[in-house]
Structures are given as structure tokens and as C-alpha cells.
């Protein structure tokens, strides 16, 4: 199994989709009871002014069951996960967690993942880290690496095959 299975509409994803659906349904039930649309989340949202994310509307849409519409919308990818909405909600609704579930659903449904997420996932699968060791510039324009600076070798998974095997399995593992 490879990156393709982790991010595609392959058969393996059906179970994952069911699981995320259940998670969303559970959130929907709880929210129907608790959210009273005070919009405190939106008033503090870091992505609101800049990218027009309105967490209280995300909650309202979920309440009305418009899940597919949100999964297919770009707006769910504007959250920068600052967790202010979760912190400040007087009813403990946590829109940020709904957004994570919606994004997970978009990925499991085989929608194209925006930006560098796929590259990051690929890198984690192959070396365990978001990226390999980089050369960096000093402020007088010299290029240096970890070892030039006297830092020890970077810590990485020792048995790459075993590490990859588990990560690939995660796509079909129950939530």
C-alpha cells in the first residue's frame, strides 16, 4: 500500500469514510443541542477577516446536515488551527474540530488535497519527517548544514519498512 491508497478513493477508504461520517454525525447531534449561534467563535477567528471563514456558520451548516457542501468547499481549508474558537466557545462546541473532521472527509473522499499536504505526507512515509535536513543561510550568506553547526545526526525511524507498513494500514484502520 502506498500514498495513493492513503489519499485516493480506493476501496480501502470506504471504511474510513464511514468512520468519519460517524464522527460528523456525532458532532452534529451534540451541536444541535448546544450551539446557540452567539458567534463568539467568529469574532475571534484568525481566518475570519483575512479569508472569510465564519466558524459559527460552519456549525449552522452542520446542524442542517449540509455536510457534502462543506466537504466540497474551499473554505474549510482556510482554518489555521489557532484553537481560539474551541477555547472561547461558551458551549464547548469547538468548530476547529468540526473543520478537521470535514477536511479528513474531503481527503478520504478522494478530493484533491490542496497545497503541499501530499508532499508532506509522502515525506513522512519515506523518511518519517516533514522534510529532510536542509542547508540554511547565515546572515552573511554562508550555507550551513546541521553537522557544520556541531549538531548530532537527526533522529529518524530506524526500520523504515515497518514504519511505513503501519502508516499505510492507518487508512483502513477503524476510528
Amino acid at each position: 500500500m502506498s500514498i495513493v491508497d492513503l489519499t485516493s478513493m480506493g476501496e480501502a477508504q470506504a471504511q474510513l469514510r464511514t468512520e468519519i461520517n460517524e464522527r460528523l454525525a456525532r458532532l452534529q447531534d451534540e451541536i444541535s443541542d448546544y450551539c446557540f449561534q452567539c458567534a463568539k467563535c467568529t469574532s475571534g477567528c484568525e481566518a475570519h477577516k483575512l479569508l472569510e471563514l465564519e466558524p459559527h456558520k460552519i456549525v449552522a451548516l452542520l446542524k442542517r446536515g449540509l455536510i457534502d457542501e462543506m466537504v466540497n468547499s474551499d473554505v474549510i481549508w482556510t482554518c489555521m488551527s489557532c484553537f481560539k474558537c474551541r477555547e472561547r466557545c461558551p458551549q464547548k462546541v469547538a468548530p476547529v474540530e468540526i473543520l478537521f473532521a470535514l477536511k479528513n472527509m474531503a481527503v478520504a473522499s478522494g478530493k484533491q488535497i490542496p497545497g503541499k499536504y501530499t508532499a508532506m505526507l509522502q515525506s513522512i512515509l519515506s523518511i518519517g519527517l516533514l522534510q529532510d535536513v536542509q542547508s540554511v543561510t547565515t546572515h552573511d550568506n554562508k550555507m550551513v548544514k546541521r553537522d557544520d553547526l556541531g549538531l548530532p545526526a537527526v533522529s529518524k525511524p530506524m526500520d523504515a519498512a515497518k514504519f511505513q507498513m503501519v502508516l499505510s494500514k492507518l487508512a483502513i484502520e477503524k476510528v
Binding site: T7, R86, E87, G115, L130, H139, L149, V154, P157, V166
Partner: protein, 290 residues
């Protein structure tokens, strides 16, 4: 001597070397022994939008590696610290999930129990070492500089799972900087996000967020900004010029890791603290050692 496994995460260990250098130089002076372990991977937090289970597994895996050596964990990155904290919180409440994670961990001969404690730079310094102890080591006080702090969202919130600092009025960094001899002040944008996570899919917006905060800090008349997260620092320091261009501001603000300032106040050589790797104009202010 307090012993911790140093969990380096990806960003600090693959590009933000100044943080790692200053952590490794300054903390041993305060009686902290940092142990390097083999086999760590990404904490998973940046991929939470892709697959939350993957995040949970990667965090459990890293904690299990430290547990195997019976060590507590020091995570200097705010993002990693959140992922590991949330993993401990979720698996502490959900025995089924813990069992499931352990079934997968067994492939690599690992087991998660939840026995290791977790610290970040700020609570390690403020709560575990203590202000009085820090003061004892200051030989070159940071006199005459007024510094703004940036904590980073992920060590601030969500308080529900337990965070190293207060969620609405964090003051521990201020207390530490004052112990080093610097002046601090409150400012309205203190809790604003750096936007770093948006680098992944909306880079222009990430730069705007950072630019707006840097511009505000500069306009308030601070001499510099201090942070404790490699993601935030990359935005404020290495990408400062670009962030400034995005918000049409000429930015000229020195940005430091807290541990760099700690080292300077302790008289450690600038080079050992990685100050030549800061791309913001850190030489604009005269601080501590040579």
C-alpha cells in the same frame, strides 16, 4: 540534574537550527540533561487536516519511544507539544483507542502507557527550573531593551487538555525575560496567530498574518520579538522581509528564540547560540555576550 528526552520534531531539526543550538547550549547550565533518542518521527500535527488518526498514531509512537527509556519528554516546538499533549489526553480517556494504537505500535515493538511527562521550553524554565534559579545564572543582563513576546497558539490553547501557559493572559515568558534583565510590555496583538500552518496551502495569507503582527510590534516601539516555536520563528525571522512586502511595510524587527536570549544573558558566545542564523536584524540591538 533533571533528565529529559529531547523530542526535536521536524522543523527545528531540519532547518531551525538556532533553536536547537540555543536549547542544547543554555539548558545544561540550569541542570537539565538532554538525552538524544533514535527513531523519532514527525509528531503528526501538521497532517491533522489530512488524517487525524495518523496524527494520533505518530504522537503515540514518539511518546512510546521515550517511555521505553523511562524518560520524560521535552518538546521545544509548540506544534509538537500540542500533538503529544492531545495524544496523552485522548488516550488517557479512551481505552479502546489506546488498545488500537498499541496493536499498531507492536509492529515496531513499542507500547504506549502514558507514563512520560511532557514539558515545553516555557514551563520547563518557568515552572520546573524557576525564576530564582534562572536569575542566579545571569552574568550579562539584557539591559535597556524592551521586548514583545509571542507564545504561539499551540502552547496557549486549548486549555481543556492542559497547556503550559494561561490561555488568555500568558505571562511566563515575560517573567523569564524580566529575570534576564529585559523590559517587557503588553500589546493588543499579543495573542494573534503567526499563520504558519497556512504556508502549506495559502502561503500569501500566512505571510499576511505574520506581516500584520510584526508591523504592529514594530509600531508599538518594541526593540525585538521573542518566540518559542520553530514554525512561528520561521515566519517572523527568515520570512520577515516577504511578510513585510505582503502588508506593504518596511520591517526591521529583531526576532529571537527565548533560549537564545537566555544564553546571551548567561554569557554564552553568540555563535554557539546560532545567532548568525537569525535572518532578522538581530545585530541592531546590543545584548549580553560577545
Amino acid at each position: 540534574m533533571k533528565k529529559y528526552a529531547l523530542y526535536p520534531g521536524c522543523v527545528m531539526s531540519t532547518e531551525q537550527y538556532a533553536y536547537e543550538m540555543s536549547v542544547r547550549e543554555s539548558l545544561p547550565l540550569l541542570g537539565v540533561e538532554l538525552i538524544d533518542l533514535q527513531g523519532f518521527s514527525c509528531c503528526g500535527e501538521p497532517l491533522k487536516s489530512v488524517n487525524q488518526l495518523l496524527t494520533l498514531y505518530l504522537s503515540a509512537r514518539n511518546l512510546a519511544i521515550a517511555e521505553k527509556q523511562k524518560l520524560d519528554v521535552f518538546a521545544p516546538c509548540a506544534m509538537c507539544h500540542l500533538a503529544l499533549s492531545e495524544c496523552k489526553w485522548v488516550l488517557g480517556k479512551n481505552a479502546d483507542m489506546k488498545k488500537r494504537m498499541n496493536e499498531m505500535l507492536a509492529t515496531e515493538d513499542l507500547k504506549y502507557e502514558g507514563t512520560s511527562k511532557l514539558v515545553h521550553t516555557v514551563d520547563l524554565l518557568h515552572d520546573h527550573i524557576g525564576i530564582e534559579e534562572i536569575k542566579k545564572h545571569v552574568t550579562k543582563p539584557l539591559k535597556g531593551v524592551k521586548l514583545a513576546t509571542h507564545y504561539g497558539c499551540h502552547i496557549i490553547r486549548p486549555s481543556e487538555i492542559g497547556r503550559p501557559v494561561d490561555s488568555e493572559h500568558p505571562m511566563k515568558m515575560e517573567r523569564i525575560l524580566e529575570a534576564l534583565g529585559a523590559e517587557t510590555a503588553e500589546y493588543p496583538e499579543k495573542l494573534d496567530c503567526c499563520g504558519a500552518l497556512l504556508q502549506i496551502n495559502l502561503d500569501e495569507s500566512a505571510l499576511t498574518k505574520s506581516g500584520q503582527k510584526l508591523k504592529a510590534v514594530q509600531e508599538h516601539g518594541f526593540d525585538g520579538l521573542v518566540d518559542v516555536c520553530p514554525w512561528c520563528h520561521k515566519m517572523f525571522d527568515a520570512r520577515q522581509t516577504k511578510a513585510g512586502e505582503t502588508v506593504a511595510a518596511k520591517l526591521d524587527l529583531p526576532v529571537f528564540y527565548l533560549t537564545q536570549l537566555l544564553g546571551l544573558a548567561f554569557g554564552i558566545d553568540k555563535k554557539k547560540l546560532g545567532l548568525e542564523l537569525n535572518l532578522s536584524p538581530v545585530d541592531n540591538i546590543k545584548l549580553g555576550g560577545k
